[in-house]
Amino acid sequence: MKAVLAAALASLVLVAVYLAAGGGDYEPGAPPDPCRIQTKSQADGLTGTLERVGLNALAGSACELKVPRERLLLALAGEEDLGIDDDRRNESFRTGLRDALRQEQDAGNVDESTAFLLDQAIGILPVDAILDRLFGEGL
């Protein structure tokens, strides 16, 4: 019986050491809360503006739909099913884009006529074309 208890003690010590060293918490990082994301861009000019608009739109829409921003991006790219109606999802993303565009306009990064043209494009272009422009090879 002593041998069994010694074996149990050795096993428990090993498990305790692994837990103390971070075992059990070693897992992929959780995506950030989309409602608290502060978007920054390393690029200047129109490229930087478009990145901020895209990321802010994504975060705003994900916040409204209560899903991680990354899952929304995958869903918009047709890689994942969020279980949300496509029209509602796309409309939420367009609203996010318009809000983000307004922020850029308020910050003085986009003039009125460019904002008007972009707003028209947001309303007319299919979502995948917008995505390609913001997050794809079209940038």
Partner: protein, 455 residues
């Protein structure tokens, strides 16, 4: 042929059969890639062999008993079937043919393993010595199987594992041809030793889980080469062989100690603090010691004082492989589901790292597209990260940030792969602990012997 080489060849035959229950573990990713099937389907390459071995061991033992001289005939036929089936495995054009050939291998293997117990008893001139050599050869084969399979897969191909078995099986025929006639059976208990057989089954499940899951984690999860993984997992059989030399203690205590140590090691593997082979060393040592202390003595105890020897030997083989199959059947859907979940988590966390990285948006898009290419190329496996980053030209001042992103992406993938195996290792630990139940029940069965058998 002299007695020792004959006994050695018979031991090699037993080792070969038992090694086959785990030898393809490290080759599974290559088999998976070759046949373009799901991970669950590929696991049948392992499961089929062990299932047939579990089901055919007792019937094979009964076949040996049917007439005088049966052991030699059954071993001879078994080795021929095993060799032909091995050749079929090597040239199988599809997974279905491979699995069918593995079933045939299992049939031949069951015949060889059971008949060899009787032949080894005759060769060594002692029931105890014959059983000891039989048990040691089987346990050694099962333990070194993954390392040998990994070595062959990396240096040659997964098919070479099966090709090599053909001449080995044929050489063992020489020993069977000249084998001595079986010695007379002493009177003894005829009923199977349920207590020890159940414990063997649970520990067999623990051993399989340890080898199968660890090898998959190292190769498919942490992206180590089969050769490196083979070296890494050889710690377990080395520890088992060392522990088998430890003498003393009754078989129930050794079995209980073995179950607890194996469970502790498996639980630690399920709680890895990082994706480093170093963290697998101590758990492997614990599992190896646990199995080395317990499996051989439990096998001997299940045979000791019982007659006919070959039938009880068949029961121990069946019990062990029922455990192996149960572990594979229970754990494969668990880790397959967990791999899917973690793949999704990894995709999201990698995407978050890319979106939030302090890089020019055009570099981010470049990284994203190249990673997507690697992901498609990996076809469901963990993608290679370095090639995706190697093709990216960083803008001025971006190189260190790009390197940091690569390191973060690799870390996220390691975390996801490790987490995917967590539940399976913990379930395997619970399975090993279940061996305590039959061992700690009040005594009622025949007295178990002091240990002699090496694990």
């Amino acid at each position: 042929m002299r007695r020792v080489p004959r006994a050695a060849l018979l031991a090699i035959a037993v080792g070969l059969v038992l090694a086959d229950s785990s030898v393809v573990t490290l080759a599974l990713p290559d088999v998976f890639a070759e046949y373009d099937v799901t991970p669950s389907a590929v696991s049948w390459v392992l499961t089929a062999y062990n299932l047939v071995l579990a089901l055919a061991s007792v019937p094979a033992a009964l076949l040996v008993l049917r007439r005088r001289g049966g052991a030699r005939q059954v071993a001879f036929g078994g080795l021929i079937v095993f060799a032909v089936a091995s050749l079929l495995c090597a040239v199988a054009p599809s997974l279905t043919v491979l699995v069918a050939a593995r079933c045939l291998q299992g049939l031949g293997g069951a015949a060889v393993a059971c008949a060899a117990l009787v032949l080894l008893e005759a060769e060594t001139g002692s029931r105890a010595r014959g059983a000891a050599v039989w048990g040691a050869a089987g346990a050694f084969g099962a333990a070194v199987g993954p390392a040998v399979g990994g070595l062959l897969t990396e240096t040659l191909s997964w098919q070479s594992i099966f090709i090599l078995q053909v001449p080995l099986a044929l050489v063992c025929l020489l020993a069977v041809r000249d084998a001595r006639a079986p010695i007379a059976e002493p009177a003894g208990e005829r009923r199977p030793d349920i207590r020890h057989l159940v414990a063997i089954g649970f520990l067999g499940a623990g051993l399989t889980a340890a080898l199968f899951l660890l090898v998959l984690l190292l190769v498919a999860g942490w992206r180590l080469s089969p050769l490196t993984a083979a070296l890494a997992v050889s710690i377990m059989p080395l520890a088992a062989l060392s522990a088998a030399r430890i003498r003393g203690g009754d078989v129930r205590t050794r079995g209980a100690v073995g179950a607890v140590l194996t469970a502790g090691g498996l639980a630690a593997l399920g709680l890895m603090p990082s994706a480093s082979v170093a963290w697998t060393v101590v758990p492997q040592v614990l599992i190896g010691i646990g199995l080395g202390l317990s499996l051989g003595p439990l096998t001997e105890a299940a045979i000791h004082g019982r007659t006919p020897l070959v039938l009880h030997g068949g029961w121990t083989l069946a019990a062990r492989h029922v455990g192996v199959v149960a572990a594979l059947a229970l754990l494969t859907p668990v880790f397959t589901a967990d791999l899917d979940t973690q793949e999704q988590r990894a995709t999201e966390s990698v995407l978050a790292r890319i979106l939030d990285s302090p890089l020019d948006p055009r570099t981010k898009i470049d990284v994203g597209l190249k990673l997507a290419d690697e992901l498609n190329r990996a076809e469901g496996e963990v993608p290679e990260i370095a090639p995706a980053f190697a093709g990216i030209e960083p803008r001025e001042g971006e190189a260190p940030r790009l390197e940091a992103l690569q390191s973060r992406v690799e870390d996220e993938l390691d975390r996801a792969a490790t987490t995917a195996f967590e539940r399976s290792f913990l379930i395997a630990a619970a399975l090993s602990l279940c061996a305590l139940v039959p061992l700690l029940l009040p005594a009622g069965a025949p007295t178990a012997p002091r240990t002699r058998v090496a694990a």
